[in-house]
Amino acid sequence: MERFIDGDATAFDALFTRHAPTVRSYLQRLTGSSAAADDLTQVTFVSVVRGRGRFQRGAKVKPWLYAIATNAARDAGRRQKFESVTDEGVLPEQEAEGAPQRDFGLEKAVKSALAQLPEAQREAILLHRFEGLSFAEIAEQVGLTESAVKVRAHRGYEKLRELLKGVWP
């Protein structure tokens, strides 16, 4: 990260290779759209380059990247609504070509349930449970207290359970 801040292009490539796939996956879960995830991944890494002077040397890179991705998704969400799952729950082509053990019915239900969660609760659940960020790290990046983030996540889990009744363990 230090070398990248100083303008080293190879350091940027290493950063991108390491983090871009997970950031993109997070954005797809957050927006429910593959095309939006691609666009927002580009926007996220352009932001990383433009705003690298604001990175606090010695801080963790991953929470910072997810904060940028979340901010970009929020901004895009305010300006335009993402494509949503149809009533028939058609998934993008690339997902339908997956391994046979995948439960597409469940994935459709999960995607639809995630889309129905309020934005703040969806972010808290995805960042904590699926991206492995601590509540403290999320709180630091979104400018809230740790307990406020926990409350958001708790409410989100409750709603998700309700939406996925019969599926949620």
């Binding site: 303008g7 292009a9 940027f12 890494f45 604001r54 940028i68 239900a109 999960v110």
Partner: protein
Amino acid sequence: MTPEQKLENAVRNVGGASKDMSALAAAARAELSANPKARAWWVDGLMVLGLNVVMGITAAKMAEWNDEQHHSAMTKYAIGIAWFVFMALASVLWLKPGSAKQRWALGVGFIAVSFATIGALSGFDPGGAFMDGVWCAIAECKVAIIPVALVVALSTRFAAQTSHLLIGTFAAASGGAVALHFHCPNGTASHVLVFHVLPALVLAALAIAVRAMWKPKSFVP
């Protein structure tokens, strides 16, 4: 596979993957080659500080000095210095990345200096029309408007929160507050509160509203 693992997998699979990750890096690589040198956040802060100092000193030099507002010469200068200290800290630190706690502390600082100003007033009422008060508010806004515009413009370089704009605008308004502190002859609390402090809050609300309409150049916190 347990139901929990099934659900975890389902959520992970909703993430998917891009067909060409490398293509997603192209715009960032072009940006990096165009701007290989990173701009430190405090450089912008020093720019705001410089402008605030210039505007504050220019305004202070242009108007006639009055002592009627103050309880004593000591409180007059002590509070003038407090406004300068607040201006110096807030002009730079409103941009500092990281926790919002420091910005809220600066907000408390602004309130404290405002209350100290009111607490040290002489109570002298020169009379005059309501419009005399309005002129004070207009003067403060005139001194602050360019620095506030700079604060809003700089805030588009990152994902600015309300607290960033609030403190940035208070810093910009403090130049005008210093000028009014030394030049306004009115020593009543209602006048200072309505025509010296309130304009800073109005400017902050305007800055937040304008910034909300502006698309940011970067989403870094």
